[in-house]
């Protein structure tokens, strides 16, 4: 029967609708509701929250910060992750396995624990690294790390690095094992081999890794919450505060919806770009 495939996928579609589509629609609807300190949420249709977010420069700054951090995290992850994957790929067993575990191991540890590690090393006067550097006289005051954008970028890049390494690693695995030898035999030096032969071929991997890292960095919660705290808010921590501290759910919903829409737009256009650019070559 023609309808059989649809009937068979019905249970999964139902589950998807209940746990994804319905909450999303409810969140969008919520963003148009009214809210007052004493009256709570009123189920009416108004644009007050949207107007507030678009007119108050506080929100503009906050979104700019969110995407600025995500951009630099992605850049840092690509700059360190891609060479890391290349070196890893050239290692011989057993070292390759050992170092792969070292790189992927942090994925087994909670993000909170990993971020708190950074806080322990750099947190104010009592941070281990700060203490050590000050005692050697290299610096006179602690390195600013907590409650700074730079701190958030470094900690997030560390947390998200494995995703970049894995994406680039997967691209490297598809490389012809003889291809570097072929370039060397034609007279290419090691730097030329990487720049003209390896890098162009793993570029799709770097770009897909970048999309993953960018999205995860822009929507990350735990790391910005610990490093940025209340002083330096990003979209996810602000939405959290609106929902759970101010209890202004409609305003929180606006922020959440805006973040989602922006990320979907960025991801879709970026992957379109990647596909069009490389379809002919790697199709």
């Amino acid at each position: 029967m023609k309808s059989t495939p649809y009937l068979l996928s019905l249970p999964a579609l139902l589950l998807f609708a209940v746990v994804v589509v319905v909450p999303l629609v409810m969140t969008v609807a919520l963003s148009f509701h009214d809210w007052g300190q004493y009256k709570g949420i009123e189920p009416v249709f108004i644009l007050k929250n949207w107007r507030e977010v678009f007119t108050d420069s506080y929100y503009g700054e906050m979104f700019a910060r969110t995407f600025r951090i995500a951009f630099f995290v992605t850049l840092l992850a690509a700059l360190f992750g891609a060479p890391e994957a290349y070196i890893l790929n050239r290692m011989k067993s057993p070292w390759r396995g050992v170092f792969l575990l070292v790189i992927l191991g942090p994925l087994l540890i909670s993000v909170v624990a990993r971020t708190l590690g950074w806080a322990l090393l750099f947190g104010g006067n009592s941070g281990l690294v700060n203490k050590a550097l000050m005692s050697t006289g290299l610096i006179s005051s602690p390195l600013p790390f907590m409650f700074t954008e730079a701190g958030m970028v470094v900690a997030l890049a560390h947390v998200l690095m494995p995703y970049m390494v894995l994406a680039v690693w997967a691209a490297l695995q598809r490389l012809d094992p003889q291809i570097e030898n072929a370039a060397v035999a034609l007279g290419a030096g090691p730097f030329t081999v990487v720049r003209r032969i390896v890098l162009p071929q793993v570029m799709p991997g770097i770009l897909s890794g970048s999309i993953i890292v960018f999205v995860l960095a822009a929507s990350a919660f735990a790391t910005p919450a610990i490093i940025g705290g209340r002083r330096l808010k990003v979209a996810s921590t602000l939405a959290y505060d609106e929902f759970l501290n101010t209890l202004n759910w409609p305003l929180g919903a606006v922020i959440a919806v805006l973040l989602l829409v922006a990320l979907v737009l960025i991801v879709v256009s970026a992957s379109r770009l990647v596909e069009r650019r490389y379809a002919q070559v790697f199709g």
Binding site: Q178, A183, A185, L186, A188, R196, P200, V281, F282, G283
Partner: protein, 308 residues
């Protein structure tokens, strides 16, 4: 003095001797095949010439110079890999020109030589294609053009035809031979296919367990194999009363070794027989001349000339 000399070359991986005291001299312009089963050390030998693997001991000399002292990138050898190892993100022309760019050849000269080389391998119309858009045979020609365009002192071919289907492989054998004759580049072919080695090369080096069992022209190695291994590897053989006889040298006669035909297989241009005799099972190959041949179960007599 020989052009390329491999002298007592050895390579040990752990406790395994991949190449064990191999000595070969190759003349300028010669086409030499390293032939042997997988694991016989032929590919390791090629990689040592290319510089991707360092010998444990021994020497490689090119025109009297020590080749081992030269970095792989500076050896100027043309290599065609089994997988072709084309650069997938570059067009055919970009693939071929790469080696010339590395040598710092001037732009005008580069364009001219790429066009000439693509003409030579019959791909002049495909310069703007990407490797992915081409057939296996065409990719093979690109790999050959990329190796030849740098005018290498030696052309190394690593199982270059093994990824092609049988018919295309035969065509490419003829073409490869013609191209090599045209450009006159000293060529070393690594293959496990004895027909390919015999069809292409001036001399073959039959290798087994890291050693050369026999070095000589294909015809000589086939007719006068130095060892039982060479005899077996280069074609079908019969061991009759202690003598090695090729199946096509045996004919049916009125007298000779008596036997009974066990199986008869028709293979187009020849008949393949298995005959039960007092000396054991004997394989016989007879040309198909259109005449009637003994059927299965027939009593026959086998005759042959004693090997010289």
């Amino acid at each position: 003095m020989a052009f390329l000399v491999l002298e007592n070359l050895s390579k040990t991986f752990g406790t395994h001797k991949a190449v064990d005291g191999l000595s070969v001299s190759v003349e300028k312009g010669e086409f030499v095949a390293l032939l042997g089963p997988s694991g016989c050390g032929k590919t390791t030998t090629l990689q040592m010439i290319a510089g991707f693997v360092e010998p444990t001991s021994g020497a490689i000399r090119l025109e009297g110079r020590d080749l081992l002292a030269v970095k792989p990138a500076e050896r100027g050898l043309g290599i065609v890999f089994q997988s072709y190892a084309l650069f997938p993100h570059m067009t055919v022309a970009e693939n071929v020109v790469f080696g010339l760019e590395m040598q710092g050849v001037a732009a005008a000269e580069r364009t001219k030589r790429v066009a000439e080389t693509l003409e030579l391998v019959g791909l002049a119309a495909f310069a703007a294609r990407f490797p992915r858009q081409m057939s296996g045979g065409q990719q093979q020609r690109v790999a050959l053009a990329r190796a030849l365009v740098i005018r290498p002192q030696i052309l190394l071919l690593d199982e270059p035809l093994s990824n092609l289907d049988a018919k295309l492989r035969e065509e490419m054998q003829i073409e490869l031979r013609q191209i090599q004759r045209t450009v006159g580049t000293t060529t070393i072919l690594v293959t496990h296919d004895q027909a390919e080695a015999m069809a292409l090369s001036d001399r073959i080096v039959v290798m087994n367990q890291g050693r050369a069992e026999q070095i000589g022209p294909p015809h000589e190695a086939y007719e006068r194999p130095a060892t039982p291994f060479v005899a077996n590897f280069l074609g079908k053989t019969n061991l009759v009363n202690g003598a090695t006889v090729r199946p096509e040298k045996i004919s049916f006669g009125v007298s000779g070794l008596a036997g009974k035909v066990r199986t008869r297989i028709f293979q187009g241009n020849h008949w393949l027989y298995q005959v039960d005799t007092a000396a054991g099972l004997v394989t016989v190959i007879r040309q198909n001349t259109g005449e009637a041949m003994p059927a299965e179960g027939a009593d026959v007599h086998l005759a042959w000339q004693a090997a010289s």
